[in-house]
Structures are given as C-alpha cells and as structure tokens.
C-alpha cells in the first residue's frame, strides 16, 4: 500500500497554490419570452467546483463535451461571470475585481484557444497580434526593444522571424497554434489556460505542440491548466488531472495514480473507452460500455450526477445524496459514496438500462409559454 502512495507524494509538486477555486458555480439562465425576458431555468454548467493549481505544475482537466470544463476555465479568467464562489489568484479574489484592477490581473493569466483559425484576427499581421497585448499592458518599450522581444517570442515557439509580416491564413494549423501560444506568452503570464490546444491539429503535428508547451514551461516556469477531452494527451503533459462530469469534479489525482487506479466509475469507463494504438492491448482489454448519453446540464439528475449511467449504482444514497469530493487515498480525491467498496471489489458492476435523455424545461418542441407576438400583448 505504502508503495502505491509514495509516487503520489513525490509527484505532487511542492509549492504554494497559484490559483485556488472555491465552490465555483457558473449557471447560465435560459430565457424565454419576447418582450419580457423571463428566466425559465438554468444550465448548470459548473456547479460547485473546488480545485487548486500549484505554482509550476500542469493541471489537466478532462471530461466529455458538455461537462463544463471549458466554462470552468473561462470562469477562472472571468471571461464568463461566475454565479457564485471564489477564484483566488495568488491570494487575490478575482470574482470581486473590477475595471482596471481586473485588467491588470489579466496580464498574469492568459488563454490559448482550441481553434487557431478563429481565435486569430485574420486582418492583423502576426506582429500586430503580438504587439497588441504588449501595448495594452504597457510592455511596449520602444521600437527596438519590442522588435527584439517579438523575435525572442517567435523563436521560443519555433517560428522564423520572417513570420512577423505574415497573416494568419499563411500558416498551417500547427503554426497558427504556435502564434496563439506566442500571443499568450507575450505578456509574461504566470498562468496559461489552454483549452483543447491540440485537438484541432493533425496527429503528426499534435506532438510538436505538446512538446512546445512542455519546453516553454521549463523555460519560463509557467503554470498550466490544460483542458482537453483526450485523456492520453492530458495524462502525458499533466502532473495532476481532474475529471469532470456534468459540472462537477468526480475525481482528482496525479496522472500516474489516475491511470493506475481510477476509483470513480466514470473515470474507469472513460479510461476503458479510449482506444490504444496496439492491437494486442485492444483485443485483451475489457471495455466498460456506458449506456445512454450525458444528461442535460439544464436538468441534472438528483444525487450523484452519474447514477443514471453508472454500472456500480447502488439502491441507496446514489440517487438521493450528492457525493462530496473526498480524499480516499493520499492525494487521490473521489466523489463517489462507494469508492472504497468498488475498489475492494465488494460491489460488482451490473447492467444499466439506457435512460432517455430529456431536456426538460429547454426542449425546443416545448410550447412557448407567454406572448407569441407583439400584437398578442397589445390586444389580449
């Protein structure tokens, strides 16, 4: 047992938290009605997440589409407004910040987006893209110094300095992603949030960008939050990994532990579903096939959000009580009532009947309650 714990203890980086998120909730209202916007429900995109990212580490956030991982990342930068909770960045609560204070804070946290085509302005040259951030934060110290800085940036991300005069369309996907990374680096941030940084790229190019991110971290001592759906990529670059399901973290551990011993049923299913490019492994391994789809985040299931698809679901607690994220092994947190029993093999998986996913409250075919037109309001 101790042997299994040891790597966790050593792998967890020493150092203080750069970011800590406490009870973060981001709910999007669903509006209906023509003249009067009435809120008919909420999409619970992020619903109570606690996590901390230590200085210099890479935290990976994985989950399927719609689980709220991107919203969480954006919420941490206040690109979307959190509904509730706190985001402490180096001791300062970002949620309370306004105007100039927030703007100055933003220099220290940057984002790399998924689609390098739509996140770069097609009418700005690379030079202008990179200088924009420098100017905004008063880092543009004269023509010569800036020129030198830009060339440094480009060489750091592996682009020739002739790129400065070019426009985004002149680059391939991988190169564009490099420009996106250079733009984030320009203002010397502490934290970079990378939202699916490689998923839009070809397989042979993905590795180039993954390696680049790793090299830059070593060189500039960056802290990363990498958001991705590809667990293999996340496992490769992250020190710790958090698994999200329907707006909540269900498991958090060092990447080695998470892969060696996934404790949450969802993580187990997720790991078993990822294809491995090796026929021998593929033929041997057992898949935990989940039935049905991700329930709607507008109407999440009561109790444990995974209970509708969980092969280990028990008759009690699962459908009534939402499990807390708790430390089951050192450095390994799980949100499951039965994690210990599942781990010890006392609970066996069973068949699950696929449940129809209904988008209650937001179904497009639900009749609109309220006035259908202006004349209806004027002449009731």
């Amino acid at each position: 047992m101790t042997a299994a714990v040891e790597p966790a203890a050593t792998a967890a980086p020493v150092g203080d938290a750069l970011v800590s998120v406490e009870g973060l909730k981001i709910h999007f209202p669903i509006k209906r009605g023509l003249l009067v916007d009435r809120t008919v429900g909420h999409v619970y995109a992020v619903d109570g997440v606690d996590l901390r990212i230590n200085r210099g580490e890479t935290y990976g956030l994985v989950g399927e589409s719609g689980c709220g991982k991107s919203t969480l990342g954006r919420g941490m930068l206040r690109l979307v407004e959190p509904t509730d909770g706190r985001v402490l960045f180096d001791g300062t609560d970002l949620v309370g910040l306004k105007g100039e204070e927030l703007r100055r804070m933003r220099r220290r946290m940057q984002m790399v987006f998924q689609d390098p085509m739509s996140s770069l302005d097609p009418r700005q040259s690379v030079e202008s893209l990179l200088v924009e951030g420098l100017r905004a934060h008063g880092l543009d110290k004269g023509r010569e110094a800036t020129g030198k800085r830009l060339r440094e940036l480009l060489s750091a991300v592996g682009l020739p300095s002739t790129s400065l005069r070019k426009y985004p369309h002149e680059f391939s996907g991988g190169q564009r992603q490099r420009i996106g990374i250079a733009r984030a680096l320009a203002v010397e941030p502490d934290l970079i949030i990378a939202d699916e940084p490689v998923s839009a790229l070809d397989v042979s190019v993905q590795a180039q960008v993954v390696n680049l991110l790793e090299d830059l971290q070593d060189e500039f001592g960056l802290t990363y939050l990498v958001i991705a759906h590809d667990l293999a990529v996340v496992r490769h670059i992250s020190d710790r990994v958090g698994v999200m399901y329907l707006g909540g973290l269900v498991e958090e551990a060092t990447s080695d532990d998470l892969y060696a011993e996934p404790l949450h049923p969802y993580t187990r299913a997720l790991l078993s579903a990822i294809p491995v490019p090796d026929p021998e492994v593929e033929d041997r391994r057992e898949r935990i096939l989940l039935t049905g789809d991700l329930p709607s985040p507008a109407n999440p299931p009561k109790g444990c959000r995974f209970h509708t698809r969980c092969p280990w679901k028990q008759a009690t607690r699962c459908d009534t009580e939402r499990p807390e994220l708790r430390e089951v092994l050192p450095g390994h947190k799980v949100a499951c009532h039965w994690a210990e029993d599942i781990r010890a093999g006392r609970i066996r998986p069973h068949e699950v009947e696929a449940v129809l996913v209904e988008e209650d409250g937001v179904s497009p075919d639900m009749p609109l309650v309220g006035p259908a037109s202006v004349s209806e309001v004027l002449n009731p």
Partner: protein
C-alpha cells in the same frame, strides 16, 4: 474474388485557371466479405475522396476519376447514374462523419429511414415504419417507436450517428463505408458506436471500409490497414504486423508521436517534423521525403513503388529497420 476490388483509383481535381490537384493517386486494395479494411491517414491524404469515389458521390464536374472499382465484378465507375442510384443504399451503405449535416434537418428520422426501405425494398409505408422502428432498436436507440417522429436536432450526437448507421444498414448492404464515424463523438459514445459496428460486421457478414485518422480505432477494429500519405498507399499490412513493426517512416513516426494511455509517462513525444504542406509531388520522389528522418538523396529523385512482401506492402526506399525505437527528434 474479393467483394470489392479497387484498382489504381485516381481522382484529379481540376478547376479552371488552377493547377490540377491529384487527391487520390493510384490507390488499390481489396475488401472481402465480412472483412474490415482501414484507410488511415491525416487530413488531406485522400482517404475521404477515395470513399466518395467508390460511392460515386463526387460532383460531376471539376474532377476526373480513373481506375477501376469492381464490386462483385462490375466496375462501379462505368455504371450510369441510374444504375448507381440502385446500388447505393442497397449494396453499398455509407456512414458519414458529421451526423447532423448528413441527416435532413426538416424531415423526421422515421421518414429518412423508410425512404431507403421503400425505394430499394419496395415496402409499403406502413411495413417500412415497422421495419424502421426495428432497425433503430437494433442499433441501440432506446424507445425507437417514439424516435421515428422526431427530428435530427432532437437527438444527441451519438443517437444521430446510430440513426445514420440504421439508414445505411436498412437494406443489408454487403459493403459499408464508414468515413470517420466517431470523430465528432465523445470517447464513451465512440466506444459504443465501435462496438456496434464490430457486432454488425460479425452478425451480418457485411464488409466494412473504415476511414479514420485515429490509429487507436484501427488497432481495435480493422483486419487490414492501408496507411495513406499524399494520396498514395505507403504501407499496407494486417493490423498485428503493422502495429508491432511499422516499417514506413510515416507509420513509424505517427505511432511515436501519439501519447499512449498505457505508455511510460514523462518521455518526450517524437513528432514528425513539418506539416503536410511540405509535401513534394510524387512524380520525382517520395512525397514524405521533406518530413522523413530516414530520407536519402534518392528519395527526392526516384518515386518509390509499392512493393509487396509476405506480410506487408511498402512504398519506401529506406524503410525503418524492424524493432527500431522511435526516431531521434529532429528540430522542425
């Protein structure tokens, strides 16, 4: 005789005022009944164009298709539009990548399934509806009776893909072409769809052409794999020898550049340098040469031929030696 024999298939796109572009450049492969054949490669390697050419779905203008696509001895490329329409949906089924854009958004699912049944199997609307519900149930759609009257937007991505598979299978085709059927889906849903395809091939004896960029999917599903690069097959082998011992530098490089879920962590990935944009034409050399760590001077002068061996066919002047670990990283 194989069920499908593709011989020297070539697709050239020609637009006025531009250089002709050869998307598929002499691709040949066979598919036997009940066999799953994979076409693997990155975007732009010609894998999707190959499938569209086989199905006769390329636009009638702006391109030239040559070679042969023999389906049970009949060359599909010589058939008239009308004969081809009779074949499509009946003998040949196709599942596309994006289920939302390949289903008609304004027609209920049920009608889209029964259309095929009425057209090819001459069923009445009523009988077709019963059969459609049965089909949807068989591909794992819960409560199929109700789903018949729903529109594509009311279904989730996984369910839409299942509906698309149901349509493709409605007439029990002998050949099913799946073009990136799981790329738009989440991994847990992907696992469901792949399990479904595997089961269908086993139960119905349908031959399957699987087009994908994901080597993991290929490893679990395909009997034989064709690796495409720049419109040509560069390596062809059964999946075991291909993954155990990739010989073409491109295949080898691809496998070294993807992080494996069960591999050692902390090791650096070995990327393939450059990108597809660096390709040189096949006319005088190997298209992969500018990106290849094994490239010799001859690679930029003489076009390599696809040479058939005992376990694999290989198009390379200087293949990777068996058992070579991932190549040294070359600065891009």
């Amino acid at each position: 005789m194989a069920l499908l024999e593709v011989r020297d298939l070539r697709v050239v796109f020609q637009r006025r005022g531009t250089e002709p572009f050869t998307a598929v450049d002499g691709v040949s492969f066979d598919v036997d009944p009940g066999q799953t054949v994979g076409l693997v490669g990155e975007s732009g390697c010609g894998k999707s164009v190959t499938s569209l050419a086989i199905m006769g779905l390329l636009p009638s203008r702006g391109n030239k298709v040559s070679g042969q696509v023999r389906f049970e001895g009949t060359d599909l490329l010589t058939l008239s539009d009308k004969d081809m329409r009779d074949r499509r949906g009946r003998d040949l089924g196709m599942v596309f990548q994006d289920p939302l854009s390949s289903l008609n958004p304004v027609i209920p699912i049920g009608l889209q399934v029964t259309e095929v049944l009425e057209r090819h199997r001459g069923m009445s609307r009523k009988a077709a509806m019963v059969e459609a519900a049965d089909l949807l149930g068989r591909v794992g759609i819960p409560d199929p009776q109700r789903r018949l009257s729903e529109y594509p937007h009311q279904l989730s991505g996984g369910m839409r893909q299942r509906a698309l598979i149901a349509i493709a299978l409605a007439c029990r085709p002998r050949l099913l072409i799946a073009d990136e059927p799981t790329t738009a889906l989440d991994v847990t849903i992907q696992a469901q769809i792949l399990a479904l395809l595997k089961e269908l091939v086993r139960d119905t004896g349908t031959a399957l052409i699987m087009i994908t960029h994901d080597l993991g999917v290929v490893a679990g599903l395909c009997d034989e794999v064709n690796v495409l690069y720049g419109g040509r097959v560069v390596e062809k082998a059964a999946r075991y020898p291909l993954f155990a011992d990739p010989r073409h530098p491109y295949t080898h490089g691809l496998l070294a550049s993807i992080p494996r879920l069960d591999g050692a962590r902390g090791e650096k990935l070995v990327p393939i340098k450059g990108s597809v944009a660096d390709n040189i034409p096949w006319d005088h050399g190997c298209a992969f040469a500018p990106r290849c760590p094994n490239a010799l001077p001859v690679c930029r002068e003489v076009t390599p031929e696809l040479e058939a061996g005992d376990v694999r066919s290989l198009r390379c002047h200087n293949p990777v030696l068996p058992g070579t670990p991932a190549a040294q990283e070359v600065p891009a």
